[in-house]
């Protein structure tokens, strides 16, 4: 069991760094086992280095950098151990326009193995979705779900209208 854990850990560590470099265009991301003896009991520490900056603890990163670092770790875990689906609630809220595009193009690569369900207010995210659902509250307090199942092109113009 120990070999299995260390083997998986090392694969996630390498993939995490690889995906991080893709998202940030350089830099590196490090996940290490804290030194406290037995590999199966010790904690895990994460640090990240955006391109051109020093390697720093997670707490010093900005809101958007934290989101992208977390996404890199998440997708690294999925690469090593695929999950059938992933639900993300406004994961794009802290990202600027160019990072949203990078985030979406990365999800696009994982779409064949993992199904993604994203809650979002962002028009760019809406425009790349295959299917769109709207949740409404016509009678206040009661939620209803409406499918806006248009083919992608129509969905683009609908989403803008729904703003």
């Amino acid at each position: 069991i120990r070999e299995l854990f260390v083997g998986t850990f090392e694969k996630i560590r390498d993939t995490f760094n690889e995906i991080y470099r893709r998202l940030f265009g350089g830099g590196r991301a490090v996940v290490e086992l804290l030194e406290d003896g037995d590999v199966l009991e010790c904690g895990i520490n994460i640090s990240a280095q955006p391109p051109g900056k020093k390697l720093q603890a997670i707490s010093l990163l900005s809101g958007g950098e934290k989101t992208l670092t977390a996404v890199s770790l998440l997708l690294a875990i999925f690469k090593v151990r695929p999950s059938p689906f992933c639900f993300m609630d406004e994961m794009d809220a802290a990202l600027d326009e160019s990072n949203i595009m990078r985030f979406l193009s990365l999800l696009d690569e994982f779409k064949s193995q993992t199904q993604f369900i994203l809650i979002t207010h962002n028009k760019r995210t809406i425009s790349v979705a295959d299917v769109i659902y709207g949740v409404t509250m016509e009678d206040s307090g009661i939620s209803k779900i409406v499918s806006i199942r248009l083919p992608k092109e129509e969905a683009k113009s609908e989403a803008v209208v729904a703003g």
Partner: protein
């Protein structure tokens, strides 16, 4: 295997039965503030057996049952179902389609079902063991909680790596 459908009735703001039909690929859920989008995420976390009401933004588990509005009375039970398809090679049951259901009554009684057959929570947990889906895994990322992926206590993060192993 992928998630084909989520159905909710009496769960939080979903007083009437509502469902979402899903495909592979990317699905977006949109709508104004407070309309009930995050309640869909809570429904998904709940149906897999979540026992801690705080992780569903409530104080006690009863808070997930529709508790009424100006125009409508509260109801006595919440029910959520999640259906997976192409499950034959992935879940131990061997069926093509597998639906799990969870119900909670105001009396406090709760029920779990797999393909309409009553079962225990333990059975639901065992069914999804090792697929990356369940109450402890990273398959569901809540609104505003992205930091948890990075900053959870080392032992929480370890649990994720172990789950992956």
């Amino acid at each position: 295997m992928y998630l084909k459908r989520i159905e909710m009735v009496g769960f939080k703001s979903f007083a009437e039965k509502m469902g979402v039909e899903l495909e592979r690929g990317l699905t977006a859920i949109v709508g104004p503030n407070g309309c009930g989008k995050s309640n869909v995420a809570d429904a998904l976390r709940w149906v897999f057996g979540e026992q801690n009401p705080r992780l569903l933004r409530g104080a006690q588990m009863e808070d997930v049952i529709f508790n009424g509005t100006d125009q409508r009375k509260a109801v006595g039970r919440a029910e959520v179902s999640a259906t997976f398809v192409e499950a034959e090679g992935v879940l131990p049951l061997g069926y093509h389609e597998v639906t799990i259901t969870r119900r909670l009554f105001r009396s406090g009684e709760s029920q779990y079902l797999i393909n309409q057959n009553p079962c225990l929570l333990r059975d639901v947990r065992e069914l999804f063991m090792g697929t990356g889906i369940g109450t402890n895994a990273y398959f569901l990322l809540e609104q505003g909680k992205i930091d948890l992926v990075l900053s959870a206590k080392p032992e929480d993060r370890r649990a994720v790596f172990e789950e992956a192993a």
